[in-house]
């Protein structure tokens, strides 16, 4: 649950750049209900066009991408939630179809690396700062040095 909240918060932050106008949707595919159509577009951006290079089905004009777009809209009309639609597509085409891989044993390094690097960086910086502070302890002046300073200060006046 905590992970879910975290991901939710992060998605909200990133939501800015998630909404991107697409290219390949044809007028005959568009759903009459604008709310459903918006959801269809959101889902389409998450799904990979399997025969293309790194394109979402929203970006691709390949036939397969069109089939998938229609499938997504079909499921939405049936009343599926976004998550159910994604589950359905994954059950048919495998996880490869998701442009954002799900968190699992296989993807733990993928999702974990950014967090790990950030944490390691923070720890390194904190340790480095401590190390510096340790070195900063001012050297104690000897009585002679102190006297020398006073002498110089007086001469300055």
């Amino acid at each position: 649950m905590r992970r879910f909240c975290l991901i939710l918060a992060l998605s909200l932050l990133a939501g800015l750049s998630l909404v991107r106008p697409g290219f390949a949707v044809n007028p005959d595919e568009v759903l009459a209900d604008p709310a459903l159509e918006t959801r269809a577009r959101e889902i389409s951006l998450e799904l990979r066009c399997l025969v293309c290079q790194n394109q979402s089905i929203d970006d691709s004009n390949a036939d397969l991408a069109r089939d998938l777009r229609l499938l997504v809209r079909e499921r939405l009309k049936e009343g599926d939630s976004n998550e159910q639609v994604l589950d359905y597509v994954v059950s048919r085409y495998g996880e490869f179809v998701l442009l954002k891989p799900r968190f699992s044993v296989r993807t733990v390094l993928l999702w974990g690396t950014p967090v790990a690097i950030l944490m390691i960086g923070i720890v390194a910086i904190v340790l480095g700062a401590r190390g510096r502070r340790g070195r900063r302890a001012p050297p104690v002046l000897s009585a002679d040095e102190q006297a020398e300073i006073e002498r110089l200060m007086k001469r300055g006046e």
Partner: protein
């Protein structure tokens, strides 16, 4: 014949580079001025040879010499001259030759402009630079030779991939390579410093201008590539998180971090070890990018497995240089003393924060790009990592960084005053909050975070201005004094302000174009209209166009506002018969900062044409911002302290005397 001379010149260049890779290095070890002097000479000769070789290949393209395999595969006699020339680097072999050409250009620049460097450092830098040259010349000559002849020359060539027949391509790869390869200098400097075991603030001062040059070109290259994709691919997208894009983005991110950490090292002699590490890392990402793009591994892991010669070769280069540099680093880093103490809240602290986020962002792009490849190679499992992943991970990393950007330049070195900096930013914070609230009120049905993003962009721009205003004392001092101080500010201060403001401008462009753009897809007949962004677009019919090496269907559109015609624009679909490939030529009109983007889809069975019209809100800001960043880079580069260079020790006469003796 000329081609054979070019081929031969390339082999001679390899021999020269071999000499350059050893003689100056040994000279530096022994303190032999004569041997060290071989470095600049060899660098200049290599440059002349590679340049000649490149010119002969260009000549073969210009005269359409179809006895050359490379020309046959990538050119066509009917192709316009400009694309015959740009086609030289529009393919694997030619682009690698361009890569090496730029590498030797940088070597010769170090040889020419590096006169104020200590002799041993320059000798070592040139040697390391030559190791890279040797590796890539071998790669070209053994696996990617553009000078291979055909015994039976065909009458016609296969033409260049049509989407590459564009002016964008003429400029994009050379700029990108100037950036990519430019970082080799930072790498060579790092390796040279590790070899010598000497690393001081002067070193950072020498490295910084080279890094700035590379960074500025890479910024230009990425921006150019992004704009090219935007108008040429016909989807109106400007960044796709495609592995090829990521390959150029990683060195940019690491290079940006390097610019900032080198600043700390130059001014305060802190972060030495880290700066050297970043120099190595940045060029490693350049090499990695070259590997990803040039080995074919991205197209498919299987394609790579079936013809692995090139990929394995570059992988070998990658392992050799990265592994070698890190070994050297491991051996020598312990000996590098870190100086310069600073409090966490200070200019140094802010730059450390910058490095933390930029490095994490680089790592994120790195893992996202390579993970699917590694997973498939090791377990056979195929997963996809695309835009949604990067938006979710990269986006959140940029937000704290952007918030911190205006604070950095306002903090003092060693020990800064965060409250003081905040107070000086009150105006910037206030104005950006108001802007955010106004946008939120005006666009009540759009995400609130979009308004926050816009406000953040405004904050970064105003923060950059605040720094200049504060330093000149505008509003605080009498106008004449402020003006005098303004004129007296170092160029690097303006460089920082421009680059940071550019970041804010780009951010505004990205957010606005992502969220406030509208899309209108419709099946149109001549005479139909569609409304977008307050303009009415009327489809005025289609004409057939015959181009030099393509045929096109060009649709005319009349754009009007309030009934009055404001512009006409054509949007076309081209077909290139030689490659049997279609391309989209979008019709683009700029209104203020926004653009009207019209692309043609397919003809429907009922005779209508699918037309996609987008209103791209503020989209040009994305690239205006990068232009500001480049201006910032150029301004910093022209700063007095970099132009004049680090002070030179007065030991020259003594050394010359030694050399004579």
């Amino acid at each position: 014949m000329i081609t054979e001379l070019g081929h031969y010149a390339l082999i001679l260049a390899l021999a020269t580079a071999l000499v350059q890779s050893l003689v100056p290095l040994i000279g530096a070890q022994r303190g032999d001025a004569g041997m060290m002097a071989v470095g600049p000479m060899a660098a200049n000769i290599s440059f002349v040879l590679v340049a000649f070789s490149f010119l002969t290949l260009t000549y073969a393209y210009v005269i359409s010499d179809f006895s050359l395999l490379n020309v046959v595969e990538n050119s066509h006699s009917m192709k316009p001259m400009i694309y015959k020339i740009t086609g030289v680097w529009g393919n694997h072999e030619g682009s690698m030759l361009l890569w090496v050409l730029i590498l030797v250009i940088f070597s010769t620049l170090v040889a020419t402009f590096g006169r104020n460097l200590p002799d041993t450092l320059r000798a070592n830098v040139l040697s390391v630079q030559a190791w890279i040259t040797v590796a890539f010349l071998l790669f070209i000559l053994l696996t990617s030779n553009p000078f291979i002849r055909l015994s039976n020359a065909p009458a016609e060539g296969n033409d260049l991939n049509p989407i590459l027949q564009d002016l964008g391509l003429a400029i994009h790869p050379p700029l990108l390579y100037l950036g990519y390869v430019g970082f080799s200098i930072s790498f060579s400097f790092a390796a040279a410093a590790l070899i010598e075991g000497r690393l001081d603030a002067a070193w950072a001062r020498w490295v910084r201008p080279w890094t700035l040059v590379a960074w500025t070109f890479l910024t230009a290259g990425i921006a150019m590539g992004s704009y090219w994709a935007y108008y040429e691919l016909g989807w109106g997208g400007w960044w796709f998180w495609d592995p090829v894009e990521n390959a150029s983005f990683m060195p940019w991110l690491a290079g940006t971090a390097l610019l900032h950490s080198a600043l700390v090292m130059e001014k305060r002699e802190a972060l030495k070890v880290w700066t050297v590490l970043l120099s190595i890392l940045t060029f490693s990402f350049s090499l990695l990018g070259t590997f990803l793009v040039r080995s074919g591994v991205l197209t498919s892991v299987h394609a790579f497995a079936t013809d692995p010669t090139r990929g394995v070769f570059i992988l070998g280069i990658l392992a050799l240089f990265i592994g070698g540099a890190f070994t050297l680093f491991g051996l020598r880093a312990g000996a590098l003393r870190t100086g310069g103490l600073f409090a966490p809240i200070s200019r140094e602290g802010a730059l450390v924060l910058n490095n933390l986020f930029l490095t994490t962002a680089t790592a994120t792009v790195f893992v996202g790009t390579l993970y699917p490849l590694l997973l498939e190679a090791t377990t056979g499992t195929k997963i996809s990592v695309g835009a949604p992943f990067f938006n979710l991970t990269f986006g959140p990393l940029m937000i704290p960084l952007m918030i911190a950007v205006p604070f950095g330049p306002l903090l003092a070195w060693k020990r800064g005053d965060l409250m003081g900096a905040t107070q000086r930013l009150y105006a910037a914070i206030g104005i950006s909050l108001v802007v955010g609230l106004v946008i939120m009120a005006l666009t009540s049905d759009e995400p609130v975070l979009a308004a926050a993003g816009m406000a953040l962009g405004v904050f970064v721009i105003l923060g950059a201005l605040t720094d200049i205003v504060q330093r000149a004392g505008i509003g605080r001092l009498p106008a004449s004094t402020a003006w005098a101080r303004f004129k007296g500010l170092p160029r690097s201060a303006f460089g920082t302000a421009f680059a940071h403001a550019g970041l804010g401008v780009t951010m505004i462009g990205v957010v606005a174009a992502s969220v406030y753009s509208t899309e209108h897809v419709s099946a149109m007949r001549a005479g139909d209209t569609v409304d977008a962004g307050g303009y009415t677009v009327r489809f005025d019919g289609i004409t057939d166009v015959q181009g030099p090496n393509y045929t096109a269907k060009s649709a005319a559109f009349i754009v009007s506002k309030g009934g009055a015609e404001v512009a006409r624009v054509a949007s076309a679909k081209r077909f290139y018969p030689a490659r049997q490939m279609p391309t989209t030529e979008a019709g683009i009109l700029t209104f203020g900062a926004s653009q009207l983007y019209i692309a043609l889809g397919d003809f429907q069975s009922n005779g209508t044409l699918v037309v996609r019209v987008w209103w791209k809100s503020w989209v040009t800001f994305i690239w205006y911002g990068t232009v500001l960043m480049m201006i910032g880079g150029a301004l910093s580069l022209s700063d007095r302290r970099l132009r004049i260079g680090a002070p030179r020790k007065a030991a020259r006469p003594a050394k010359q005397a030694e050399a004579v003796a």
